[in-house]
């Protein structure tokens, strides 16, 4: 993949990357930094991508790892625990954006990709290295906790 193709393919998913990072990190500025860092890392490691067909999945994975790294740093400075799934009243009391941030990690990452970044079940499964059935189960649980009525994609 040459520089021109790299730029084109980043352009195609740039908006999704920004939305993903924003929902992970809660701020436009931090989201921009995370996207910048991920694009840089991808450009630097481009030769390691064996199959160009998986570019978007690969780049998204880099972004998720970068967001998790930033999140760990943020939580060290300002501890913010996740809320257990059973504590429905606590979730109900929060604005939706905060409620998403307080979901258990495995549910949050699925709902962000599926419903805020526009990835399909299959794409989400590839990015997170999960079975599609697992993605479907987790999205259902997350939507239930968030009390969101959104269409579930048929597998």
């Amino acid at each position: 993949m040459d520089g021109e193709e790299f730029a084109e393919r980043v352009e195609r998913i740039r908006a999704r990357m920004f939305r993903t990072a924003c929902m992970y990190l809660g701020s436009d500025a931090m989201a921009c930094d995370a996207v910048d860092e991920s694009v840089y890392r991808a450009l630097k490691s481009l030769k390691k991508l064996r199959n160009a067909e998986y570019f978007e999945t690969w780049l998204t994975r880099i972004l998720i790892n970068e967001c998790k790294k930033q999140l760990r740093r943020i939580r060290r400075e300002q501890p913010l625990d996740t809320i257990p799934e059973t504590a429905q009243e606590e979730f109900d009391a929060l604005p939706l954006r905060d409620a998403v941030q307080r979901l258990p990690d495995e549910l949050r990452e699925v709902v962000i990709l599926r419903y805020f970044s526009g990835y399909t079940v299959a794409e989400t499964a590839k990015c997170l290295e999960l079975a599609q059935g697992t993605v479907a189960t987790r999205q259902r649980r997350a939507l239930g906790i968030l009390r969101l009525e959104l269409a579930e994609e048929v597998l």
Binding site: M23, A42, K48, N65, K69, L146, L150
Partner: protein, 468 residues
């Protein structure tokens, strides 16, 4: 506002992407170019021919783009070929972690070209070529000197191709520092040995009948050079240490992975063991994997593990380096270990009955051959961990009175074959190689050997340890 209305509002906010996002690729591209320019390279003008025993100082301080300073694509291809055996060095070359050195030295019709260096905090790799006016095979023997011209210690040297070179082709030698870091300056003395072309074979085997003195006497020194190298700290301060401090247990033996030292040329995993363990750790079967599934195997060429003089335990193991992969997470998978039982460090051989009080796991069939001035022992050894051959014993051995002898030569033969007297045929045993060792000047009836290991544990499920 109900939840779905909140969702719609958030999606609308997210559509409003900051304008700076438009130039993310351009920023990444500019950043990558800046990083590559910051790597310092140096060149020395081509064509410096010097006479015997002249000393050169090479300063690493010229900042020039790699391709421009090098300007020699064919030579670079030779470097890629020369490092093909090492994933870590290949990654170093791919990431331009190379210092080109265009230094040519000549003496007595022999030309030595120091072409490239790959150096980090703990290891120096020197790539060079040798050529001669005569039809001889050249061998380079380097010695590291201190600033007073005396020999230094605390390092090990290894060579590609036993130190023999093919005319004009790139060869290499490696200097490994154990506890200390590479010093900022190193002084080398190079002895160039010439061999007749027809005798360019593997080093003398124990079966040839030649003594060490005979091979030493045949040495023909055709040239000598001395050289001083000064390194750029950007390369020699390139390592990092990860605190791990995770304990685990294999076969009842408690171990702790204390730290991981990551260098461009290799990664070192350092271990500690409980005093209550009944066996010393002598080997580990393992690999590292990062979050993208990239695997880093144990070093296959060069130093694989080190210990110290206080115990038989091997304390530090080396793998190919993740340095250039910028891995976020590293997981160690331990699949087995080799042990030396603390009460079984030595074993006694009866050279008359060709028997032993015990032998390391997988080692058997002692055969003894007496020669006029030595005794040759051979063993059948099962391959370990796939196709790996090994030395089951150390070179120092003892008689019953405790006097020590040293086995100057040992060899391995990839197949083990014996003569079946019943069938009258030679039989090759699959999965077994032959190990032979010669002890000069020994005529006793028993011999005490020091075992390199006593047993092996292979795990059904690997032990996973988060390194980073």
């Amino acid at each position: 506002m109900n939840r779905n209305e909140e969702y719609t509002a958030i999606m609308s906010d997210l559509d409003d992407m900051p304008t700076q996002m438009q130039y993310t690729v351009q920023r990444a591209s500019a950043r990558l170019s800046a990083v590559r320019r910051r790597r310092r390279m140096f060149t020395i003008p081509v064509g410096s021919l010097v006479s015997l025993f002249a000393v050169f100082v090479i300063l690493v301080n010229v900042s020039t783009p790699f391709a421009l300073a090098c300007g020699r694509v064919p030579i670079l291809k030779e470097l890629v070929k020369a490092v093909a055996f090492s994933p870590s060095l290949s990654a170093a070359v791919e990431n331009e972690y190379v210092q080109p050195v265009e230094l040519t030295l000549e003496d007595g019709g022999v030309t030595l070209k120091i072409e490239y260096l790959i150096v980090d905090q703990k290891q120096l790799n020197v790539f060079y070529s040798l050529s001669s006016d005569s039809d001889i095979v050249l061998e380079l023997r380097p010695t590291i000197l201190d600033e007073n011209g005396g020999q230094t210690h605390g390092y090990a040297m290894s060579y590609g191709g036993y130190g023999f070179t093919t005319e004009g082709e790139l060869s290499s030698f490696t200097v490994d520092f154990f506890d200390n870091d590479i010093p900022p300056d190193m002084f080398f003395s190079f002895e160039i040995i010439g061999h007749e072309s027809a005798t360019r074979d593997e080093p003398v085997s124990i079966d040839s009948g030649e003594s060490k003195e005979e091979t030493e006497g045949a040495r023909n020194v055709v040239a000598n050079f001395e050289l001083s190298l000064t390194f750029d700290p950007e390369f020699t301060e390139s390592g990092r240490v990860i605190d791990v401090y995770q304990t685990f247990e294999i076969d009842g033996q408690k171990l702790e992975l204390t730290t991981a030292e990551v260098y461009p040329t290799h990664i070192r995993l350092n271990f500690d063991a409980a005093d209550s363990n009944t066996a010393w750790l002598k080997g580990l079967y393992f690999f590292l994997e990062d979050e993208s599934g990239t695997r880093f195997e144990a070093i296959g060429n060069g130093i694989t593990a080190t210990g110290d003089e206080h115990t038989p335990m091997m304390k530090s193991f080396r793998l190919e380096s993740p340095y250039f992969y910028e891995s976020e997470q590293l997981t160690l998978y331990v699949t087995g270990a080799e042990w030396l039982l603390k009460d079984k460090e030595k074993l006694r051989l009866d050279l008359i009955s060709e028997s032993a009080d015990w032998l390391p796991e997988g080692v058997s069939n002692l055969k003894v051959e007496r020669r006029s001035s030595s005794v040759v022992l051979s063993f059948a050894c099962e391959y370990k961990n796939g196709e790996q051959m090994y030395n089951p014993f150390f070179g120092t051995c003892y008689d019953e009175a405790g006097n020590d002898y040293y086995s100057e030569s040992s060899s391995t033969i990839s197949e083990y074959t014996y003569f079946d007297e019943e069938t009258g045929e030679h039989v090759t045993v699959p999965g077994v190689f032959e190990y032979r060792m010669s002890v000069d000047g020994y005529d006793g009836d028993t011999l005490i050997l020091t075992a390199a290991f006593s047993g092996v544990t292979l795990l059904d499920e690997p032990i996973e340890i988060d390194v980073e």
